[in-house]
Symmetry: C2
Subunit: 122 residues, 2 copies
DNA sequence: TAAACATATGAGCATTTATTCATATATTGA
DNA sequence: TCAATATATGAATAAATGCTCATATGTTTA
């Protein structure tokens, strides 16, 4: 986190005062902006993206994800924790295993939109 | 970037072989997953989110963004570079100023979905 | 052409982050 | 209750990231 200090301005102050006021009015609250950035941060790692793609197919346990992605149980477990904190996935215990699945439909929508964007040119 | 090594498996191998095969077939290519994560990484910073919200309102120059967000021109410029690399924004020179605007509608859709998600509970 | 202005960029630094390793917790079955 | 299995977690480390500062590039105007 960084602290924003007051800063030099550019020349056309009078001209854009209106706009700046408007921006100030429409900008979401600080903690909403923060939460939004945190949410996208969660999508911003290819391991977590891969985990989500696995969960698109089925509800699976940790060791299956680890196997599917050729990664250690520990690494996957750490990432599942982050995905769960962002409420992108949920879990359910069944005996010794814990099964993970997608929390809601936003996950798919967001990833689908992202996919569209990166595929747009080419 | 990290290298994924082969890993211990869990017990029910035979049971989930089918699933693992399916996941393997449906997982996007490595570089698509990478690009997707990179895209979301771009959204995953509150300064860049703020910049995008400013651009939702109007096409503006660098110094206006800096002023609106109370940050230095340099900090904003560095972030604009990242947003542009991800093709979320585009720029246009007009005299000494460079005006930035949103590149396409995906930006709004993605942020709107993210907003819905974080506002879902509470 | 020189000075002023707007923006971009490279180096440096502090912070965050993803993985590994070791180990803790929880559940089942003998 | 003890061993085996599945998962979670804390500490450590290497890599990535966002900002600042100094300065470079590009444009306009005197």
């Amino acid at each position: 986190m960084h602290i924003h200090e007051d800063i030099e301005l550019c020349d056309h102050k009078e001209i854009h005062t209106e706009l700046l006021k408007h921006v100030n009015d429409t900008l979401p609250e600080e903690n909403q902006l923060y939460d939004l950035a945190e949410l996208f941060k969660t999508f911003g790692d290819s391991t977590r993206i891969r985990i989500l793609f696995v969960l698109f197919e089925a509800e699976v346990c940790v060791c299956d994800i680890a196997e599917a992605l050729h990664m250690t149980q520990s690494a996957i477990s750490h990432q599942l924790r982050i995905l769960k904190q962002s409420k992108l996935i949920k879990s359910r215990r069944e005996g010794k295993s814990i099964f993970y699945s997608l929390a809601d439909e936003h996950v798919k929508t967001i990833i689908a939109q992202g996919m569209e964007h990166i595929l747009e040119d080419r």
